[in-house]
């Protein structure tokens, strides 16, 4: 009798270990990440488009909006065709992913990424690619050819975003090095901020910059956009926990805190320096705080987020209201001033405040000064790569579209009319 039972038991025992290691789909995680993806998606054609559109001059509002909208659409296509595989395909030398998942080949209904469907993970990452490239346009509103923007997006997503995403999140060399970037300090904000600066310097300043008054079309739209960004950012940061769990809850908490703190900090800084607490400042401060907490969201605790937000608000105000005017470049809507500068602060702050209790990583304040050094290296490497790669892409784009910048007449007339043949408002 015993011998007969031994065979099935042996079979069972040999199979069990394999079962124990294989990931299983978790419906809670999946539901949350699907929602988080939708939240982040909204950040681009709604949040960012309104945030930027409201700050553009009214004759260019639709153009700014269209550039943002189109950037998201292009990212949606590039990503599922070749972007995802370049970023998250099997690692090749720490630099780039293989083409195994070209056109999402190999990702079926049941393919998992951790505890969620791989298709959901891919789409979640898509929304990050979308907003990153859209952020870049903030530096160059009012003067870029629409065709040049579309070509730029295509090239930039392929040759800049995907590689950097691979380095940090796709198992590339920065991940190997131990760089901490929870939801996109390097990949999103520093990346876009630097690219924006390069593009702004290559395009040149707007006609009349520094002399003419350039009024935002609607601070109300900008404030609404900022609120939508804040709402969506919960998907951005808490969603980057890739699960419906305590870590997501922690990221959620520090995200809201940093945003609110930075909003107040910018507002008070402006109140003191310029004598007025502007709504634009309050909204901008909130975004600065959200940017700064992005790389840190899953690594720091509540008190740290208060400090991160405070510094982000003051730093953002300084770099936008003081530094930019001193240095004289026309980073029109402060993609570098807010995303670049506050992204750098956030990435460094992660190296300071990373608390092992949150997700195992330690920063300088918890006895690991080496982390700060690693963060610094990752920041410098991102800046260097993005600057050079963006520059090359600018030259290629110029060749393809015969110039980046619109004609002087078009710039004067306004791009809504000149490029799109439309008007933002029909006012009596």
């Amino acid at each position: 009798m015993k011998k007969i039972l031994l065979v099935p038991v042996a079979l069972l025992l040999s199979v069990l270990p394999a079962f124990a290691e294989e990931a299983v789909l978790d419906t809670g995680d999946t539901a949350w990440i699907i929602v988080a993806t939708a939240l982040v998606m909204m950040m681009t054609p709604a949040g960012l488009a309104l945030f930027y559109g409201g700050m553009s001059r009214s004759k260019n509002l639709l153009n700014t909006y269209a550039m943002t909208f189109a950037a998201y659409c292009l990212a949606s296509l590039v990503w599922v065709c070749w972007g995802y595989t370049l970023a998250f395909g099997p690692d090749k030398g720490g630099i780039i992913g293989g083409l195994d998942h070209l056109f999402l080949n190999g990702i079926g209904i049941d393919t998992l990424s951790g505890t969620i469907p791989a298709s959901v993970f891919a789409l979640f990452q898509l929304t990050f690619a979308g907003i990153t490239v859209a952020l870049v346009l903030g530096s160059v509103v009012d003067r870029m050819k629409f065709s040049a923007w579309l070509v730029f997006c295509l090239l930039w997503l392929t040759f800049v975003y995907s590689p950097v995403a691979h380095w940090v999140w796709g198992g590339g060399w920065m991940a190997e090095m131990g760089a901490l970037d929870f939801a996109g300090g390097n990949v999103v904000h520093i990346n876009a901020g630097i690219a924006g600066l390069v593009l702004a310097l290559m395009l040149g300043k707007r006609e009349g910059y520094g002399k003419e008054a350039m009024f935002p079309s609607s601070v109300s739209l900008t404030a609404l956009g900022a609120a939508l960004l804040w709402f969506g950012w919960f998907g951005f940061n808490a969603g980057s926990a890739l699960g419906a769990n305590g870590l997501a809850g922690s990221a959620f908490l520090v995200t809201n805190t940093s945003a609110a703190m930075a909003g107040m900090a910018w507002m008070f800084a402006e109140w003191i320096v310029s004598k007025r607490p502007t709504l634009l400042g309050l909204a901008s401060g909130v975004v600065a705080g959200l940017v700064a907490i992005t790389p840190a969201a899953g690594f720091v605790n509540l008190p740290a987020s208060l400090v991160i937000g405070l510094v982000a608000g003051v730093l953002g105000f300084y770099s936008v209201a003081v530094l930019k005017h001193k240095l004289g470049y026309d980073d029109s809507l402060d993609a570098f001033g807010v995303h670049g500068v506050c992204g750098i602060w956030g990435a460094l702050a992660t190296g300071l405040f990373a608390n092992p209790v949150i997700s195992g990583a330690s920063g300088l304040l918890y006895g690991n000064p080496g982390q700060l050094w690693i963060q610094a290296i990752s920041i410098v490497a991102t800046i260097a790569f993005t600057a050079v790669a963006t520059l090359i892409i600018v030259y290629v784009t110029r060749l393809i579209t015969g110039g980046l910048r619109v004609s002087r007449e078009d710039e004067m007339m306004g791009l809504d009319n000149a490029i799109h043949g439309e008007r933002a408002f029909e006012l009596d």
Binding site: M55, A213, F215, V219, S274, T278, A321
Partner: protein, 112 residues
């Protein structure tokens, strides 16, 4: 016939309209305009960029009256538009050569 053109502060429009109605003036044309005289503009600030806005919003009110009514109308406007502060506005009077009521074809004083 005379045309009376008055530049007034926007929030005074209702007072002026009521004063003219009491005089029997039944119609007028109103436009939103911008201007400045001795009243200074204001500053607006956007992310550290401070702009001086010289022009202040005003209302231009135009009414055509029989010549005999001119002084009464001018006084009514001046009194009802007054606040005593800089920027109260100005009133101009100019001659009108002809007036026509479109619906009936009436001309001259019958048209106003």
């Amino acid at each position: 016939m005379k045309k009376i053109e008055a530049i007034i502060k926007p929030f005074k429009l209702d007072d002026v309209k009521n004063a003219l109605n009491e005089l029997g003036i039944q119609g007028m044309t109103v436009t939103e305009v911008k201007g400045y005289g001795r009243q200074k503009g204001h500053t607006e600030i956007y992310r550290g960029a401070e702009y001086v806005v010289d022009f202040v919003p005003k209302i231009k009110l135009e009414v055509v009256v029989a010549a005999e009514m001119t002084d009464k109308v001018v006084d009514a406007i001046a009194q009802s538009a007054l606040t005593g502060k800089v920027g109260d506005g100005k009133i101009f009077v100019m001659p009108v050569e002809q007036a026509v009521r479109v619906r009936t074809g009436e001309k001259g004083k019958d048209a106003i």
